[in-house]
Subunit: 321 residues, 2 copies
């Protein structure tokens, strides 16, 4: 079994050369640019690791891994346009650097190229892979739309937020795990456990992300702590706080949300702590990690083969404050 690091080096060897034709240069330079500004390639490596759980890594897993990474970057380009985000990973976003029209179009073409990679795999599971990939792609779009919808309404309940965040950020990792397993010849039952494993890691990761945005150590977190509070973003923390707060705290929260006072972050955090939102979110994250681990546990392959995937889960979810 290979480690995340080994597979990631192997993937980069294949993925770091230009992935697109030379011309039209504007279109494909923009697409190549976002691939070049990196990221940890968690999703494509997850495909490879899930594949190796069941069989030696197949060429087809690499095709699917590339398709997934292209899809992910397509969605980042388009999300950045929608969010009018100037910066991603410390670099100008594609639309900032290449203009909105070329950014839009380079996202489109990446989605098409993703499907072209899928079309290289063995016919025996071509249709299944296409189906899961497309269903997932559609769900990611739906999640993004719900996220925009929820920005415009005053309160969102916990289940609705969980549904949105699952679509927007977790089903893709879930699909990576299932696709790798599928190519490895896993039974449907094992594939479904792998899907659940990926999905629950994704949810736990999002809970952690919400937590770190509020309670993280600014030096380690790498972005402004309290950003979600300042932007009035619905998060697991805010939704839970509004659920458990007393009337006085609720009123205070609503007042704070509707203002941009200098001490807004500090005061919201005070209420969060009074409501024990920090402890609650740690517990919730741990619950989803345990769900994920139980799914991995349930898969009938030798435990020793599972070590690297367990390590990946802990690596993703052991980010300190």
């Amino acid at each position: 079994m290979h480690s995340f690091l080994e597979l990631s080096q192997q993937f980069e060897k294949d993925f770091s050369p230009r992935q697109f034709p030379e011309s039209p240069a504007n279109l494909y330079d923009a697409a190549q640019y976002i691939l070049g500004i990196g990221g940890k390639r968690v999703r494509p490596i997850a495909v490879l690791m899930a594949n190796e759980l069941f069989a030696p890594i197949a060429e087809d897993a690499l095709h699917v891994a590339k398709a997934i990474e292209l899809f992910h970057n397509f969605s980042l380009i388009h999300d950045d346009i929608m969010d009018e985000a100037p910066i991603r990973r410390g670099m100008p976003t594609v639309h900032t650097k290449y203009g909105q029209s070329t950014a839009l179009l380079s996202g489109d073409v990446m989605l098409v190229v993703a499907y072209e990679h899928l079309n290289k795999i063995n016919e025996s599971y071509l249709r299944e892979v296409f189906a899961l990939f497309s269903k997932t792609a559609r769900e990611v779009c739906e999640g993004q739309q719900l996220d925009m919808d929820y920005e415009k309404i005053a309160t969102v309940d916990f289940d609705a937020y969980m549904h949105m965040i699952t679509l927007k950020t977790s089903v893709l990792l879930a699909a990576c795990m299932q696709l790798g397993a599928l190519i490895g010849g896993a039974s449907l039952a094992n594939q479904e456990q792998m899907y659940a494993f990926g999905k629950n890691i994704g949810i736990a990761f999002q809970i952690q992300d919400d937590y770190l945005d509020a309670f993280g150590n600014p030096e380690k977190f790498g972005k402004q702590v309290g950003g979600d509070i300042i932007a009035n973003k619905k998060t697991f923390l805010l939704i839970h706080a509004l659920n458990v707060a007393n009337d006085e705290q609720k009123l205070a929260l609503h007042t704070l949300i509707n203002n941009q006072d200098a001490d807004k972050v500090e005061k919201v955090l005070e209420i969060y702590k009074a409501c024990k939102v920090d402890e609650w979110s740690e517990v919730l994250k741990e619950q989803y990690l345990q769900k994920a681990m139980a799914s991995l546990e349930a898969i009938n392959v030798l435990s020793a083969r599972k070590t690297e995937l367990e390590k990946l889960a802990r690596f993703l979810l052991d980010r300190e404050a």
Copy 2:
């Protein structure tokens, strides 16, 4: 053999009910909206007609026809965002009605749903259909990028313009013809003739479109005559005029392009007529129509089967001034 009208009524029966899930409503209402504002459905019907040239129309042809129409509308939504167009077919564009972010996302999801339709067809040609569809989708994106690139440069030569316009507007009709033939079990040679048939009709149609924009009868044309001239769009007419004009006419054209005088359209048209650009473009269109007809002629099925496709070509290319 069925006529265009018959097939179009048959297609609408299947395509006019809602094509998307109910929720998220914003996302899918936007996608459904553009399907509802119509168009002649030339491309999907072309798939069905091309299919019927070789065999009774298959369920698979209908799946591909839907995929093509969804792809076409995806590209219209995104093009309208890029062009900041407020109106399409007399109705507000999707981004005008639903906002840019939802428009962008509803285009994305339509492309994914298009692939989901493709994934329903018989496995024996699934990979081939996916390959041609994706190649075409990529080329359409490339054509749109080249169109934007050419807007920013002073002059474009004839071959470059032909290349751009082929990608942007002709390869999709070409692919429709080939896909229908492929599903009908046509030989590769016949498929290639069908591709050429569609491509050359597409080019002839674009030449006609450029011609009508300058020389059309305003009452029949349905949009402002001279729009391309006012917008300084590169067209077959302008490129040819700049190729054949004498120095004085060239200078006059360049001066006119760089200004927005009240009599700009009138003066450019005078030069076009002096250069016989109108006659030239009629001849050019006829040449491409003849190329298209020669491809259809070369296909080894009974001539009687070809009548409806011939009629379609003439219907598309017999628009009067």
